[in-house]
Amino acid sequence: MIRLQHKVRKDAFLLDVDIEIPDTGVTGVFGESGSGKTTLLRCIAGLEGGGGLPAHRRNVGFVFQQPTLFPHLDVRGNINFGEKRAASRRVDSQSVLDMLGVESLLDRSVDTLSGGEAQRVAIAAALARSPDIVLMDEPLASLDRKRKDELLPYFDRLHEELSVPAIYVSHDVEEISRLCDYLVILDEGHVAAHGSLFDVLSRVDIPQLAGRNAGVVLWAVPVDHEDGLTKFDFSDGDIWVPGEFELGRSPVRLRISASDVSIVRERPQQTTILNVLRATVEEIHRVDEARAMVRLGLGNQDLLAQVTNRSVRRFGLREGDRVFAQVKSVTVRR
């Protein structure tokens, strides 16, 4: 485990964090702007002052929101900068170049790079430093949709192949659901919740995860194609998703937004909705005057459904009820 213990005051803002996160995989830090995400990351890197080791002795790799490179060096020079100063060689620089596809960019001058290429080079440089931990401050936020989509597969590879732990700060739940394994939720400088991605995403009582941010991630295996659909098997049944996704044995992530799940008492006979899953109402949480969040147990995994309080009343919905969950749409994350 890695202990994160940071307390800094900046004018009226106080960041006060003391938690432990796993020393493997990617930890997502999520929160609204002004919640202290970036400040936390900068504290870990030693960029916020306040004592402790200076930044250059902390052995972290920092990836800034704006791709930052040294304009007086070419791509190779930028990547070598940290490598030359590395305390250890635990990250193989050749594999870093491969993972991020920057081999062909090495002799380019940095001002000829696109935003996405520059960010890949910046990440490669941070990794070539052989850091003990990689810190990424919304590395996709400065890029447009198209560049983001170009870059995401590289992050998938990093997530799969990187041997050092990473902290990934973002205000985008979609990115977090795709790339992270552990989740920390920050609210006004304090930790509102933390735990495995799957556990935290299926909680109903986290205000930051209400509304359009609410939704769970399921692990499922793509096993079959039929009618242009792909069948995903998971521990509690199967889910059909439009599109022919690559079949395989290893599970992929399916994200199901709470607003795409509705609840019915009886198994519907006539419905255009493809995916109807048997479920038990585990928890009903009143979000505000209008809305409630319902956690539905499928067996091993959970779904969230966002409904109105009026429906809950009319329906007489109670914890423990046996119901069916209609899933209107599913996003395949990998």
Binding site: A45, F64, F81
Partner: protein
């Protein structure tokens, strides 16, 4: 004493002054570019003062300060047995004060233009503050260094008032080109005055032209 003697002395003076001022001006400009102290405007004003003060005022104070009875002058006398005024060493000190803003301001502008994130990136990549300064800040501020050196050199070369006050007019010792011109005009030797003036004019133009040309090319890169 040849006609061009007064040219060599100021060239020496300008070289020494430029070297010293880049040395002093760099940390001072770095501090000014980074500091958040409320004393910054005070320090900035002091540094910029030689630009607006009449050189004779500056020269007068320096003469008092550097003279054998002055705070610095008496210390120098006890150290070396010589007075500072009317010597080359005295000229160097006076020139450093006089040309300080011409070294500090271009450097400060260059350092202020450095994105903080670029330095932070260098630190997180394992470079200490000093390492980051030399491996990132200096190469990215080269234009500032060239401007500072050229302006300091040219400005020192052409100074008159301060040098006359502090250095006097000793041929081969403290007689610089601007004073030589003044002398020539005073004694109605217009031909000699023309020659030196034209040289200084051409030199000033060439120096400024080279500097602006370099800056222009760098900006286009």
């Amino acid at each position: 004493m040849s006609l061009y003697g007064p040219l060599w002395l100021p060239a020496q003076l300008a070289i020494v002054t430029t070297a010293i001022l880049i040395g002093i001006g760099t940390p001072l400009a770095w501090w000014l570019a980074r500091t958040e102290t409320r004393w910054k405007p005070v320090v900035q004003s002091i540094v910029a003062m030689p630009i607006v003060l009449p050189p004779t005022v500056l020269g007068f104070y320096l003469l008092i300060l550097l003279g054998p009875q002055g705070a610095i002058g008496s210390w120098w006398v006890s150290l070396t047995g010589d007075a500072l005024t009317f010597t080359f060493a005295g000229l160097v000190i006076a020139s450093c004060v006089y040309s300080l803003p011409f070294a500090v301001q271009p450097l400060q502008n260059a350092f202020e233009a450095l994105p903080r994130q670029t330095l932070e990136r260098a630190w997180t990549l394992g470079a200490s503050k000093l390492d980051a300064f030399f491996s990132v800040a200096v190469p990215l501020s080269l234009r500032g260094f060239v401007s500072a050196a050229v302006l300091t050199f040219a400005h020192t070369l052409g100074e008159f008032g301060v040098v006359l006050m502090v250095g006097g007019n000793i041929p081969g010792e403290t007689r610089v080109v601007s004073i030589a011109i003044f002398d020539h005009v005073e004694s109605l030797q217009y031909a000699s005055a023309h020659r030196l003036s034209l040289l200084l004019l051409a030199f000033a133009f060439i120096v400024l032209f080279v500097m602006f040309a370099i800056n222009h090319r760098w900006r286009r890169r």
